[in-house]
């Protein structure tokens, strides 16, 4: 398997630059570089932009100071997931990163709810590029090319940087369970930034390796496990819901589901004793009845078997439960396991 274009994770690294094994190793033990320009990038300006986003999404954003960001979830009035966002407070604006290909959808969503407020949404997709460095050696490599300052910001914080002569905004993130950095720069500087990082020792990675690492670390992704079919509690995102900040769209539903313990299914890890991958949205059965679905399945080199992320009904979403996974040709016994499948590697100091 080699790096290929993917529709799922906003990665557009061309196929064939490096082998899958090299990419996987770079993510697990080195510094990997991915082009994630398919992720939406919006800039919100206006005095009420932060307040508006705070009223539209689940996490507490009002405490953010310039240079600091937070992950939050846009939810519908039924409490379903519209998209997972990263919101960075800048000096006089907000930078919003959306799921892959969701820039317009999120811009339209915010625009619909901008009525009395003075808020302007600008789509930065055409003007900017977004590369991401990830892996235990990412901070060290960034320190070499951009200096210690940008490489030592805390997770979800940002700093300006100059990398190979390119002015960029560095945001430290929890890149699918790995330490990582998003680098935003003007679109015309994309190639120069990319080459500087590759020449400094980063390994180009594509969608397949990233997807395997994401699933191994049990991270749900926008457009895969996270969409309007599910709510944030089902997706295991309770940690980015504020239950004290007051109303946001869908808050009443989310609060009720939590208070009355009415969450009916849970994001779960599944593993099975073969490298065979099931079809999209394969059914999970128990006693002849469907109790779940596998959304994303990959072959894990570390575990040497097929693993997946899916949703399983509450009563069966218990580690150790044995379910039947429907394959294209036959079936396999799948076991529900705790997430993540593998712990995240330590960042190299």
């Amino acid at each position: 398997m080699c790096a290929t274009l993917s529709k799922t994770q906003g990665i557009s690294t061309p196929a064939g630059q490096t082998s899958f094994e090299q990419e996987y190793q770079a993510l697990a033990g080195g510094a990997a570089l991915a082009d994630r320009s398919r992720m939406g990038r919006l800039r919100l300006t206006g005095d009420e932009a932060l307040d508006l986003l705070n009223r539209l999404s689940t996490n507490e954003l009002m405490d953010l100071v310039a240079g600091q960001g937070a992950v939050t979830i846009l939810t519908s009035n039924k409490g379903r997931i519209v998209d997972l966002l990263f919101v960075l407070r800048e000096q006089d604006s907000l930078l919003v990163l959306t799921g892959p290909g969701n820039g317009k959808k999120v811009a339209d969503w915010i625009d619909f709810y901008t009525i009395i407020e003075d808020v302007v949404v600008e789509d930065l997709a055409e003007k900017t590029t977004m590369l991401s460095l990830a892996g235990p050696a990412a901070a060290g490599l960034l320190g070499k090319v951009a200096g210690a300052g940008p490489a030592s910001v805390e997770t979800w914080e940002s700093a300006p940087a100059t990398i190979g002569g390119v002015d960029a905004t560095v945001i430290r993130n929890d890149f699918d369970g790995l330490d990582g950095f998003d680098l935003l720069a003007p679109a015309p500087d994309r190639q120069r930034l990319w080459e500087t990082l590759i020449e400094s020792g980063a390994t180009a990675v594509g969608a397949d390796a990233l997807e395997v690492v994401r699933v191994e670390r049990g991270m749900p992704a926008s457009g895969r496990e996270l969409d309007e079919a599910y709510n944030p509690l089902e997706a295991g995102l309770k940690g980015i819901i504020s239950f004290t900040k007051g109303c946001y769209i869908g808050q009443e539903v989310v609060a009720r589901l939590d208070a009355y313990k009415k969450v009916s299914k849970h994001l779960s890890g599944l593993k099975w004793d073969s490298n065979t991958l099931p079809p999209e949205n394969a059914r999970l059965m128990l006693g002849g009845a469907q109790v779940g679905v596998v959304i994303t399945a990959v072959r894990s080199p570390l575990m040497n078997r097929g693993i997946g992320l899916g949703y399983v009904k509450k009563v069966s979403a218990v580690p150790g439960t044995s379910l039947i996974l429907e394959l294209d040709d036959g079936q396999a016994e799948a076991e529900v396991v705790d997430l993540p499948f593998v712990p995240s590697p330590e960042t190299e100091s």
């Binding site: 009223r55 009035n77 009525i115 109303c247 769209i249 808050q251 539903v253």
Partner: protein, 118 residues
């Protein structure tokens, strides 16, 4: 939506006499006896949209201004589509809800009554 004895006017916003009297009282208490009441809608709240009521010194240039029971009401222009036909009433007493928007455009309303969906 609460029961109302006031007849709605589909293309405007109607204010009940009781609501107008309470606005005047609040304006006096706030030291703004000449104050104007401005209403609008903002995004957020459990159901998607939330009512906004403000005592202001002057309306914005493109506000739609309605006068009833001696009260001047300014309606935010972009909010108007969500509010047309609304009756603004006042629910008093110990269990009262205060100002109440009886809004025919609201398809859903949250438990506290301040948020609605269209």
């Amino acid at each position: 939506m609460t029961q109302t004895s006031v007849k709605p006017k589909p293309l405007t916003i109607t204010i009940s006499k009781q609501a107008a009297e309470h606005v005047e009282e609040f304006a006096r208490q706030a030291g703004k006896p000449e104050g104007y009441l401005r209403v609008g809608v903002k995004g957020g709240g459990c159901s998607g949209l939330t009512y906004v009521l403000d005592l202001v010194d002057q309306f914005k240039e493109d506000d739609k201004v309605i006068e009833e029971h001696g009260l001047k009401l300014g309606v935010d222009r972009k909010s108007y589509v969500f509010l047309a036909g609304t009756i603004l009433e006042f629910s008093g007493g110990l269990n009262g809800k205060g100002f109440v928007f009886n809004n025919p455009n609201a398809k859903t309303t949250c438990g506290c009554g301040t948020s609605f969906g269209v």
